[in-house]
């Protein structure tokens, strides 16, 4: 007789549970190295850094749930940061409009991705690559290849580095609100259900009356907007935008979503898993750097950990 778990436990995705177990394990390992790892200050700092990746991974997850991928993240992040800073340089009105303007630029690029994937039926891997190249081209032409001199607006800096309540970093609050909104969208709205349906089988979703093309287009617009928003946060964090500021976020965002148990083929995955994946990756990067591991070692361990964890729970079923 097999043991039946109580209902609430049975509903826990083993992937998400493993991811959280790995987080605990990492913290324990870290605390053996230095007691600092369990201090609230350190943990809050990690969560703050994680929220930048968290915002990007949220958009990435929406797209991956469709069974697509968004490779335009690096330069859409840069576009968001640079355009918001550029708007700030245009006086009072520009400062106020900085955040919405950067966001709009990101949504526009995301829409190009979305139209390409949904209506022109171009594989997402290639159209987002092309949009990434165009975004890079626009920014290189705009900045002349140098890091732009405009600095971030006060609002951007406040959101990225300040704290209003109980010393909680604002960036973390933003990520928490965004996460709550995303969970609501996935579980309580037709749009969210449509995303899962399309990820499982777009044909079936179409035949059940979902306007699949519009949903796909909007999902890419969301991803673009969130990438640009993360770019604004990053620019606020460093108080200015930089060339290639988004390069370090493409692979970690995909890894975070996948480590959180979302299937790269689409249709399966929960937002809690993505949260776990984001924290896991941020902690891993942080612990490796605190241990003064050199960059090459970090890259190698990073690769091994991703493969090791996926071998634990990310394997596909055998073909039969």
């Amino acid at each position: 007789m097999t043991m039946r778990l109580p209902v609430p436990l049975r509903r826990i995705d083993p992937a998400v549970a493993t991811a959280f177990a790995c987080i605990v394990l990492l913290l324990l390992l870290g605390s053996l190295y230095s007691r600092e790892f369990l201090s609230p200050a350190y943990l809050l700092q990690q969560l703050k850094v994680a929220s930048f990746l968290g915002v990007i991974a949220t958009g990435m997850m929406v797209v991956i749930l469709l069974g697509q991928i968004d490779l335009s993240v690096p330069w859409v992040v840069a576009v968001g940061g640079m355009m918001a800073c550029a708007a700030t340089a245009h006086g009072e009105l520009g400062t106020i409009l900085a955040i919405p303007f950067g966001l709009l630029c990101g949504i526009a690029l995301g829409l190009v991705n979305g139209i390409g994937v949904a209506y022109l039926r171009i594989p997402s891997m290639i159209i987002t690559l092309a949009v990434n190249a165009v975004a890079q081209g626009l920014m290189v032409a705009y900045t002349g290849g140098f890091s732009p001199q405009d600095s971030a607006s006060r609002a951007m800096r406040f959101i990225a580095t300040g704290d209003i309540v109980f010393g909680l970093p604002n960036a973390l609050i933003v990520w928490a609100l965004l996460g709550a909104g995303t969970v609501f969208m996935f579980t309580r709205t037709g749009f969210g259900r449509a995303i899962y349906a399309i990820g499982n089988r777009e044909r079936a979703a179409y035949l059940s009356g979902i306007n699949t093309q519009r949903v796909v287009m909007m999902a890419f617009a969301i991803s673009g907007g969130l990438s640009a928003f993360a770019g604004e946060l990053l620019a606020g964090y460093a108080s200015k935008a930089a060339q290639a500021m988004g390069d370090a976020y493409l692979l970690p965002s995909i890894a975070a979503v996948v480590l959180g148990g979302t299937s790269i083929l689409g249709g399966r995955g929960s937002y809690v898993g993505t949260i776990a994946g984001v924290i896991l990756i941020t902690l891993l990067q942080s612990i490796l750097s605190v241990m003064q591991m050199e960059e090459f070692g970090r890259q190698v361990i990073y690769g091994f950990v991703i493969i090791g964890m996926l071998l634990l729970y990310g394997r596909e079923r055998r073909l039969r």
Binding site: Q136, G145, A244, L251, G297, V300
Partner: protein, 328 residues
């Protein structure tokens, strides 16, 4: 030859890529101040061959409906390794060349083994292994550089010209096609790769050796990327563990594969098409220089051309009669 229509249709992607490349190259050469000279061709060939080799490797994996996001990192890793072991007297340095190729082969095989026996998705697997290969490259070459006794004779020969003005790099590319691609395409394994890419389930049901097909596709991809890395070492005389350049080559190889008429859904296309796709993509970048435009506009120009090129592919949508076929 009654089946010429069928054969033509099969090669349509390759022929289209060839046409695009020829058109761009003719424009490039006719606007080039030096014209069609051996020097211009040699420089263009050396640059183009790098991407062509990585794109060939990418083709192997894409044909199985997979993707190799570590291709650029294997390219960088073997470049750094080559800058160490292609050194000393020529026979010793040639051993080094063999060593570089072996390492590329092993990197590719590792990708294949994880994808097949780990049953992980190629995208994430190769992202992770790419990170490992890049880490090792960085360990070898924290700063760009080369070995004191770097053998530049081999390098000069491989990037030079044969008597008659033919660039050696083009000949080398041709030899790679003859020695690697054609035998592969005609072998049972090669057919198994196409079958696996068309429909893995159908291939499995028909008893096609799927595991072996995938293994060789990934392994050859590693080998071809390492030949590319070798050429980068020959051209620059040094190894440079540049994350940006690894990422760029991975992404450009996918672009080249698509321009070359290889379907990202697997089972359709040829490495020869990918070569022309790569050469065309490289020529796009160079076109701006001969038109005397600001080099700052080059990335934008390249991006827009890529965007338009991939949109052209959606012309097939006009042929769709049943709306449901959109979602196939």
């Amino acid at each position: 030859m009654k089946d010429w229509r069928y054969r033509l249709a099969e090669q349509r992607g390759t022929l289209l890529a060839l046409a695009i490349f020829l058109f761009m190259f003719v424009v490039y050469v006719s606007k080039h101040p030096a014209g069609f000279t051996a020097n211009v061709v040699q420089t263009a060939a050396n640059k183009g061959v790098l991407l062509a080799l990585v794109a060939m490797g990418q083709t192997m994996v894409v044909l199985t409906a997979g993707i190799d996001l570590s291709a650029g990192m294997i390219f960088i890793f073997t470049n750094c390794l080559g800058s160490y072991i292609i050194a000393g007297s020529t026979p010793i340095a040639l051993l080094g060349v063999v060593g570089v190729l072996l390492v590329g082969l092993v990197c590719g095989a590792l990708n294949g083994l994880i994808v097949i026996y780990g049953r992980l998705q190629p995208i994430v697997t190769t992202i992770a292994t790419g990170s490992i290969y890049y880490g090792v490259a960085l360990w070898l070459r924290p700063q760009p550089g080369n070995s004191d006794s770097f053998n530049s004779d081999i390098a000069d020969f491989m990037t030079g010209r044969l008597p008659g003005g033919v660039p050696v790099s083009l000949v080398a590319l041709f030899v790679v096609v003859l020695v690697v691609w054609l035998p592969f395409r005609r072998s049972a394994i090669g057919r198994a790769v196409y079958a696996t890419g068309s429909s893995e389930v159908a291939a499995y049901m028909s008893g096609v050796p799927i595991a072996r097909a995938k293994f060789w596709a990934y392994t050859l991809s590693g080998l071809l990327s390492s030949i590319g890395g070798l050429y980068l070492t020959f051209i620059t005389y040094s190894g440079d563990a540049s994350f940006a350049s690894g990422g760029t080559y991975t992404l450009y190889s996918i672009a080249a594969v698509v321009l070359g008429g290889v379907s990202l859904f697997g089972g359709v296309g040829s490495a020869v098409g990918a070569i022309f796709g790569a050469l065309a993509f490289r020529t796009i970048g160079d076109l701006l220089f001969v038109f005397d435009l600001d080099p700052l506009w080059q990335p934008l120009f390249q991006g827009v051309v890529l965007l338009l090129a991939v949109c052209v592919g959606s012309a097939r949508l006009f042929q769709i009669r049943n709306r449901l076929d959109l979602f196939a």
